[in-house]
């Protein structure tokens, strides 16, 4: 009888496609919005993840998220190094400054100051130039998206000069870096060079990057650093989620995306539920005839569930495919960097689609299961 259910479903092509479209649309809308939401949230803390050569971040104890750390005294670096279990610790600066281009335009940029000797926290992949070129006077490396933002439409060219706080900066490399939340260019330079770019503050350093000795539990070491120095010490993962939690709790982003995702679910459920219900209603006489001829309710339910499952799988597949095609087609757009179809979004939306399908099947089957088979004798 599964075959009969399949034929009943596909017999009316327009309705069949309408049902699949309903689920596809809901899947597309929800997956795309969930993925963009996750991408944007990841962007807020993407620079934490970009630092792959240190697993601990130490900062002022009142820091709420990565863009807000106040400077801390240089002496804190020695105090952290003195905590038992710390393998090594280096200073780092992260801040925002204004860049004046040769054209006279201004651009706000994110500036990283990396410890001169180790360059811990430096970009992992260079597109043009060498990391070691940072040893040149006033040298900076910029991320690819930042270059396209600062000099749109222009070919990659090293040796470009611009000003940071009225001081000459020379471009010596272009690297790959995760897109930041604000989509501002990301500049990397040596810590000593950054001192020249960011004058005025009594202290420059606002982060200490550290690594635990082998065999030391990173989370316990963070607690030890905090208790011995009063500084906040977090693992990379903890700092990533702390930053994301800050944006989730203090911005309207989750509410806005949540509304869109919920609407996608409601519209998808409404379209699919209603169409499937009407589809079943139109086949009520046929279901009644089948019941009269000896098909029991269990088999009827299986038939309806099979129809719903087929619609769900096809619709979800098409929807996921469309979402993947969307992100693939926008992959090269600089402003959309870091936004892609995430497995978590696919799984989450898959569960949502399953709920839609089960709801639609319940609504549709209720009518059939309680149908009196004698209805077929009423002309």
């Amino acid at each position: 009888m599964n075959w009969v259910a399949w034929k009943m479903l596909t017999g009316d092509t327009a309705k069949y496609l309408g049902l699949v479209f309903g689920i596809s649309f809901a899947t597309l809308l929800m997956t795309q919005q969930v993925s963009i939401f996750m991408g944007i949230m990841s962007r807020t803390a993407s620079q934490v993840l970009d630092v792959r050569d240190a697993s601990l971040w130490v900062m002022d104890s009142k820091t709420r998220f990565i863009d807000e750390a106040p400077s801390i005294p240089e002496t804190d670096l020695q105090r952290v190094r003195g905590v038992s279990g710390v393998d090594w610790a280096v200073r780092m600066y992260k801040g925002q400054v204004a860049a004046r281009l040769a054209s006279g335009d201004f651009r706000a940029v994110i500036l990283f100051g990396l410890e001169d000797a180790s360059l811990v926290g430096a970009p992992q992949e260079m597109i043009l130039g060498q990391l070691s070129d940072l040893s040149q006077p006033d040298a900076v490396i910029i991320d690819k998206a930042g270059y396209e933002y600062m000099w749109p439409g222009e070919a990659y060219q090293l040796g470009r000069e611009f000003e940071l706080n009225d001081r000459r900066a020379k471009l010596v490399g272009i690297c790959k870096a995760s897109a930041p939340f604000t989509t501002l260019p990301v500049l990397y330079s040596r810590y000593s060079t950054v001192r020249g770019f960011v004058p005025g503050d009594r202290h420059l350093m606002n982060y200490i990057l550290a690594e635990a000795k082998p065999g030391t539990d990173p989370e316990q070491l963070c607690q030890a650093i905090h208790s011995q120095t009063g500084l906040m010490a977090l693992t990379k993962d903890q700092f990533f989620w702390k930053t994301i939690r800050y944006f989730l709790s203090t911005t309207g982003i989750p509410i806005n995306f949540g509304i869109t995702i919920t609407l996608g679910f409601i519209v998808g459920a409404a379209i699919t539920g209603q169409t499937f219900y009407l589809f079943t209603l139109e086949n009520l006489r046929q279901f009644g005839a089948l019941k009269a001829m000896g098909v029991n309710n269990y088999r009827i339910l299986k038939m309806i569930l099979l129809q719903a499952t087929v619609i769900g799988f096809l619709g979800f597949g098409v929807g996921i495919g469309l979402t993947a095609a969307f992100f693939e087609s926008t992959r090269h757009i600089t402003h959309l960097a870091g936004l892609y179809l995430t497995p978590a979004a696919g799984i989450g939306v898959g569960v949502a689609v399953m709920v839609i399908i089960i709801l639609a099947a319940i609504v549709a089957s209720a009518k059939v299961l309680f149908l009196e088979p004698a209805v077929v004798f009423r002309g």
């Binding site: 009888m1 075959w3 009969v4 034929k7 009943m8 596909t10 017999g11 009316d12 006489r285 046929q286 009644g288 005839a289 089948l290 019941k291 009269a292 001829m293 000896g294 098909v295 029991n296 009196e372 088979p373 004698a374 077929v376 004798f377 009423r378 002309g379």
Partner: protein, 254 residues
């Protein structure tokens, strides 16, 4: 898989003399209070296998209710019904559904063919319900369609067939699993006179078997001539019960 009954075998032959349907004091009441309607009022009836019985009467006389109860689609409010020696009121849920699937064939006024299936696939449904493989069921249905004169239309969909042809498909579907009771509800009501006549002729030729009772609900007096027994109902009771071995008064004044 359910074993179907071949009307030519000895089992059916031995059943030929037994009562196919026995109704005792069957009463059916619909609704409650002021909307209560008594559709059947203590019907006593025996229907023998091997003959075509027509249930006739004006609209609302209770003939469709009676046939629904005989087919196990409705329960009587009072009284009991035995079909092929089994008390339907004592069967519950799955057993009753299985009994219907094995023993009763249905022909509906509106055919109730599945529009997405071909004629052969529609006719194969009772065998699919019985658990037979699709391929062999459809092949058997093709042969059944030949027996009802639709040899060239097995791949046609219902919307490609005339009303008479659709009813033939429905008859093939009703007979394919060799049921011992065939229940037809107004099989000619949706057809023109000639098609209706042909359908009744077909039923006379292919449906009537020694071990099978054919019960037809109709108010179409043009088909009364095909009945071997005509039971006339009025207001929920049987008012006349004639075996049409001679000229029945119903044939003269239906």
């Amino acid at each position: 898989m359910i074993e179907t009954n071949n009307p030519t075998n000895s089992l059916i032959g031995s059943l030929a003399a037994d009562v196919a349907v026995q109704c005792s004091g069957v009463t059916k009441v619909f609704g409650t209070g002021e909307t209560q309607t008594q559709a059947l009022r203590g019907i006593d009836l025996k229907i023998n296998p091997g003959e075509m019985t027509l249930l006739v009467g004006p609209s609302g006389c209770g003939k469709t209710t009676l046939i629904s109860i005989i087919a196990g689609l409705l329960n009587p409010t009072l009284g009991n019904v035995s079909v092929l020696g089994k008390r339907l009121d004592q069967m519950r849920g799955g057993r009753l559904v299985q009994f219907r699937a094995r023993n009763i064939g249905f022909v509906f006024q509106q055919y109730n063919l599945l529009p997405a299936l071909t004629a052969a696939e529609n006719a194969a449904i009772p065998l699919l319900i019985a658990g037979e493989y699709r391929r062999s069921a459809v092949r058997a249905a093709g042969e059944e369609l030949e027996s009802v004169g639709l040899s060239g239309r097995s791949q046609s969909r219902p919307n490609q067939l005339s009303g008479g042809q659709q009813q033939r498909v429905a008859i093939a579907r009703a007979l394919i699993h060799k049921p011992r009771i065939l229940v037809c509800d107004e099989p000619t009501a949706a057809l023109d006179a000639l098609s209706g006549h042909n359908v009744m002729q077909l039923l006379s030729q292919v449906a009537i078997q020694p071990g099978r009772a054919v019960i037809i609900v109709t108010h179409d007096n043009r088909v009364f001539q095909f009945g071997q027994r005509i039971i006339q109902m009025s207001d929920g009771v049987v008012v006349q019960d004639d075996s049409v071995t001679t000229q029945s008064p119903l044939l003269a004044h239906p």
